[in-house]
Subunit: 221 residues, 2 copies
DNA sequence: ATAAATACTATCCAAACGGAGTATCGGAAA
DNA sequence: TTTCCGATACTCCGTTTGGATAGTATTTAT
């Protein structure tokens, strides 16, 4: 039984997707969320043994968007496969979603059969599902790296950390504690702590170690 | 009428491919070559109006290999589409071929129908054909650029961490706390803490964050 | 101009952490 | 055989951290 999670802000979309999956009894939708925030909260609360194997993620959502949710969750739960399922094939979004950790990118217009086939294939062989038109876009991106801006520049904004927070995260990664950071940039250790907690909230984690994990794996530092 | 060129060092392969294409009368094989050298020479000699629209290129060839041939020819004749058609899906070759200018990458094992469909699609929409398994490899390359592969092997012993300690460090990097790690590997949280302190001593640090910094930057995890 | 972020400061509390010490057990090396 | 070491487990103690809450100043946006 493959546990699936569906994240989409529109109830109608979720129902459609569920119907498409329902044709195959191996799929079991264990979690539905209306946006990235909702998803991350629900996922965290779920026991490990009940966590979904795969997540079908829309990109256009309020609060926390799909890319950010994938970036957080794929660091926190590396075993979960994230498949973007959207109606758009916007180049930039494709790129950012994949960098964030998506292992597949499907268009909603794909047939029910095609989608379930691809998901089964992901389950069995680990090969991520990719719509042909998306595959071609990826290829083009590899061929001519559009903006040669490095991956740090591209990633450091997806969590919407403030300048100060990025600075703190940088110092945190050096293994400094609150009071050391405070002394270094001439602010109170209390303030440093407040910044850290803000960072944790934006990264959807609750400890230094987890924050650093995301920072390192997503190239924020 | 789509003019096609086939480059493969084995006559049998060329025949097989020609047969597959023959099912669609739109394809007209105008050039056959046995290696990159042969291909480039013949191509140069061909009048512009007779030059192929698409080239199906094997990679494993004597003299000038497929990647080199694509790199040269795609610069000289930008309008020609190069599709790699091979039996291997070697990561490095895929990557180099695409960088060289290949716009598609098909496996020979694909069905005749699939290949002709993909080529027709390339002709009509300009979207390059990509076998699903190849598309997934490309996606992985985009996700984690190669380069630091064996670093872990080389470095994981320089700090003389015991197996257990490496295991603990690995779990630490996932942001787990003592009790969580203890529960995961069935030992007491106290023991986990003891291991951590041993790790700190060997790494000459005195906090989780500093240990993780070394672990990440030295490729221990 | 008013609202909304952002930066900064502060305090309280419970939990987690780090450091040091002690001790048992089993295997490997002396 | 004795010694050494890794893994295990525990306690005591002081420090650090995460979380919640609350407030002010400054900048930014509408």
């Amino acid at each position: 039984m493959i546990r699936i999670s569906i994240v989409d802000d529109k109830i109608s979309n979720r129902v459609i997707i569920k119907d498409k999956l329902a044709r195959n009894p191996f799929f079991n939708v264990v979690l539905e969320a209306i946006d990235g925030e909702d998803f991350l909260t629900q996922l965290k609360a779920l026991p490990d043994d009940d966590k979904p194997h795969m997540v079908l993620m829309d990109l256009e959502m309020p609060n926390v968007d799909g890319v950010t949710a994938i970036a957080s969750a794929s660091s926190l739960y590396p075993d979960i496969k994230f498949v973007v399922l959207t109606i758009f094939d916007d180049d930039d979004k494709v790129f950012r979603a994949i960098r964030a950790g998506a292992c597949g990118y499907l268009l909603k217009e794909e047939s029910s059969q095609a989608i379930t086939d691809m998901l089964m294939n992901l389950w069995e062989s680990g090969a991520g599902p990719i719509s042909p038109s998306i595959a071609y876009k990826i290829l083009q991106m590899v061929q001519q790296p559009v903006g040669v801006k490095n991956k740090k520049e591209e990633n450091e904004n997806i969590f919407q950390l403030s300048e100060r927070e990025k600075e703190i995260l940088q110092l945190l990664s050096q293994g400094l504690e609150y009071k050391e950071i405070g002394a270094k940039i001439f602010i109170s250790p209390n303030t440093v702590k407040k910044h850290c907690i803000s960072i944790y909230q934006k990264l959807h984690v609750n400890s230094k170690a987890q924050a650093l994990r995301i920072a390192y794996t997503k190239g924020l530092i």
